[in-house]
């Protein structure tokens, strides 16, 4: 017996805007209205939008600093350990710990680990790779990576109500409002 079709759960509402200006204004008003479980989707970075939604965080910088420190210690440690402990070799009477010669390798390893920290922490904090996300269920969302601007209010927001939130988004001048199936 075929199962009864179940209405999918609602993830949230997705409002479509024409340009970055409209999205920025909408984001400001959404935040002022008290919505916090929100997100904006745009085909390029718009600083004012993430400022307006209050989603800014800077842990990437912290991870880069940590990566840099780890690289610094690892790079110098490698040179020091190899040259003084593992394979001490007298070259022209120079001291075993001839630290100025170790600076280039230390520098390169610092940059290497810090760069990996930047990219990996950015990807991991963004929760990527994530092949599936409810917003992809909206066909119009394909334009979010091209030329359209979207604002989502999620159903888990305490202020969320299917009808009033929809009305609110309409009042922001959204061109189209789609329901996102979870």
């Amino acid at each position: 017996m075929p199962r009864e079709p179940v209405a999918p759960k609602l993830y949230g509402l997705l409002a479509e805007f024409e340009d970055p200006q409209a999205l920025t204004d909408a984001a400001k008003r959404t935040y002022a209205e008290g919505y916090r479980k929100t997100d904006a989707y745009s085909p390029f970075p718009i600083e004012h939008v993430w400022e307006a939604l209050g989603v800014e965080d800077r842990p990437v910088s912290f991870f880069v600093l940590c990566g840099g420190i780890v690289g610094l210690i690892a790079g110098f440690g490698l040179c020091y350990w190899v040259s003084t402990i593992a394979y001490p070799l007298n070259v022209g009477g120079r001291p075993m710990n001839s630290w100025p010669s170790f600076i280039p390798v230390t520098f390169e390893v610092t940059i290497l680990i810090a760069s990996f920290a930047a990219v990996i922490s950015m990807i991991a904090l963004n929760g990527l790779p994530m092949p599936y996300h409810p917003v992809f269920n909206v066909p119009a969302f394909a334009r979010a990576s091209q030329d359209k601007f979207f604002l989502a209010i999620e159903a888990t927001d305490p202020k969320f109500d299917r009808m009033t939130t929809r009305e609110f988004l309409r009042s922001l001048g959204a061109k189209e409002i789609n329901e996102i199936d979870a």
Partner: protein
């Protein structure tokens, strides 16, 4: 009309970095249409075909090298370093423009970098790949390269010498290659998502979708992305300057006359930028024509690149003058003889050809009509590439072939296999470059969108340079 009006009118704002009339949609479809199509321009097929033939020449040359050993090359005592290191330094130098354009020009807020950074970064990766061929194959036994180059616990219980510039070079170049690849991939993620959403074919959509990691352009994503990208640019800037500095240490730490000079690091870095911008011009001029990208890679881009080439060319020429001065002022007969031998010895032709290519030809770029002539720019960029190759030839061969003891002097003659390996790497480079433009966006789509007037937000600083409209107009 008052005097301020006259002064203001005298200022002509630079032309826009992309031609007016584009929208988010037109930019997206124009750039992605090069990839998401079954059509290839005939000129693309011909160029890739020729390059592929040279790539096969490389495979034959390297295969023969592994069978016979380095004896097939012309280098021998006293010129123990020849084409392998000349080509290595030449390719690494070319690779510098990519990171310079993407990182340094980003930090300097040069918005014209946007249309050229992506393929310049790709060019960097492929040039570094070509460069890395040479340290791997120059021993004739690449399977031993790991043991000689990298610090790892091996059965012989010996380790690399960290007081030697050669091991610094291994770290500098491999870090540079890795960080360039990271930077390039990070820049590609949003554009891969665009391709995922535009691709009609299911397999294509899966491939780009997988590479895009599920990027959805959320505000949270973007702000971390911008944070990471800016930090990467900040770290790549000292990195790119360090790489050729370390490469120059390979020479300047040695005591050979002509190598042992303090001018080498800045002179090498300037030469790298010079060679790199010339190579970007060599690639940009045919590619913009082939795919109709004149709207994005405008005359302003070409002119700016020509100006960078001119400036760095002058620095390089200053380096040549300094070398002559050092030779004279050292009061050291070996240094003096080295300069004399370079200018009038058996390899004098290479020295004067170098001065012609790097010292004289770029001076034509002072003239605006030549600077904006694509045919001349293309020819000039090829001459610069030849000049930079000759520079390394002069530094390496003329310094080594006659050093301190006349009894150990000798001549160096390259063989067919030296040339075939070198031209083979050019084939590899061009093949990779032309395959790249057909499978990935050669211009950063999301960054070009940001240059459009519609992308600016009212009441804030826009991303475009503020053009001061002549408000005295009609007064």
């Amino acid at each position: 009309m008052d005097s301020t009006h006259v002064q203001r009118s005298a200022y002509k704002p630079p032309p826009p970095v992309i031609e007016p009339g584009h929208t988010f949609e037109s930019v997206t479809s124009k750039i992605s249409s090069v990839v998401l199509t079954k059509y290839q321009p005939f000129s693309w097929v011909v160029t890739t075909g020729i390059a592929f033939l040279f790539l096969n020449l490389l495979l034959v040359s390297v295969g023969y090298l592994f069978v016979k050993g380095v004896g097939i090359w012309g280098n021998n005592v006293p010129v123990g370093w020849a084409f392998d290191i000349i080509n290595f330094v030449w390719w690494i130098g070319i690779g510098h423009a990519g990171t310079l354009i993407s990182a340094i020009l980003l930090l300097l807020k040069q918005d014209w970098r946007t249309s050229i950074n992506r393929f310049a970064e790709a060019m960097t990766l492929f040039a570094v790949a070509c460069a890395l061929m040479f340290p791997l194959i120059h021993t004739g036994r690449p399977w031993l390269a790991a043991y000689w180059l990298f610090p790892y616990p091996n059965g012989m219980d010996i380790w690399p010498q960290f007081r030697s510039p050669l091991i610094w070079d291994v770290f500098a170049v491999s870090t540079y290659g890795t960080v360039s690849a990271l930077f390039w991939y990070t820049g590609l993620i949003p554009d891969l998502a665009t391709f995922r959403d535009r691709a009609k074919n299911k397999v294509t959509r899966y491939i780009y979708g997988g590479l895009a990691l599920g990027w959805r352009g959320s505000a949270r994503h973007w702000q971390r992305y911008e944070n990471a990208y800016l930090l990467l640019a900040g770290m790549s800037t000292p990195l790119v300057l360090s790489v050729h500095t370390v490469v120059s240490f390979d020479f300047s730490v040695g005591i050979i006359p002509g190598w042992h000079t303090t001018i080498f690091p800045p002179y090498f870095v300037a030469g790298a930028i010079y060679a790199g911008f010339a190579m970007v011009l060599t690639l940009a001029i045919p590619l913009r024509r082939m795919f109709g990208f004149e709207d994005f890679i405008t005359m302003r881009h070409l002119e700016n690149m020509a100006k960078v080439t001119l400036v760095t060319g002058l620095i390089v020429t200053y380096g040549y003058a300094t070398e002559v001065f050092f030779g004279y002022y050292s009061a050291n007969q070996y240094e003096q003889y080295m300069i004399q031998n370079r200018m009038f010895g058996p390899y004098a032709w290479s020295y004067w050809a170098l001065i012609f290519c790097n010292g004289i030809v770029p001076q034509t770029l002072w003239i605006k009509s030549l600077r904006t002539n694509t045919v001349w720019l293309f020819i000039m960029s090829l001459i610069v590439s030849v000049g930079m190759w000759l520079e390394r030839f002069v530094i390496i061969v003329t310094s080594l072939h006659r050093d301190f003891l006349p009894s150990s002097w000798g001549m160096y003659y390259p063989t067919f296999w030296d040339f075939s390996t070198f031209f083979g790497t050019i084939g590899l480079f061009v093949t990779l470059m032309f395959l790249f433009v057909r499978v990935l966006p050669m211009i950063s789509i999301f960054e070009v969108r940001m240059l459009l007037p519609k992308a600016s937000i009212k009441g804030h600083d826009t991303l475009l340079p503020q053009v001061h409209v002549d408000d005295a107009e009609g007064a």
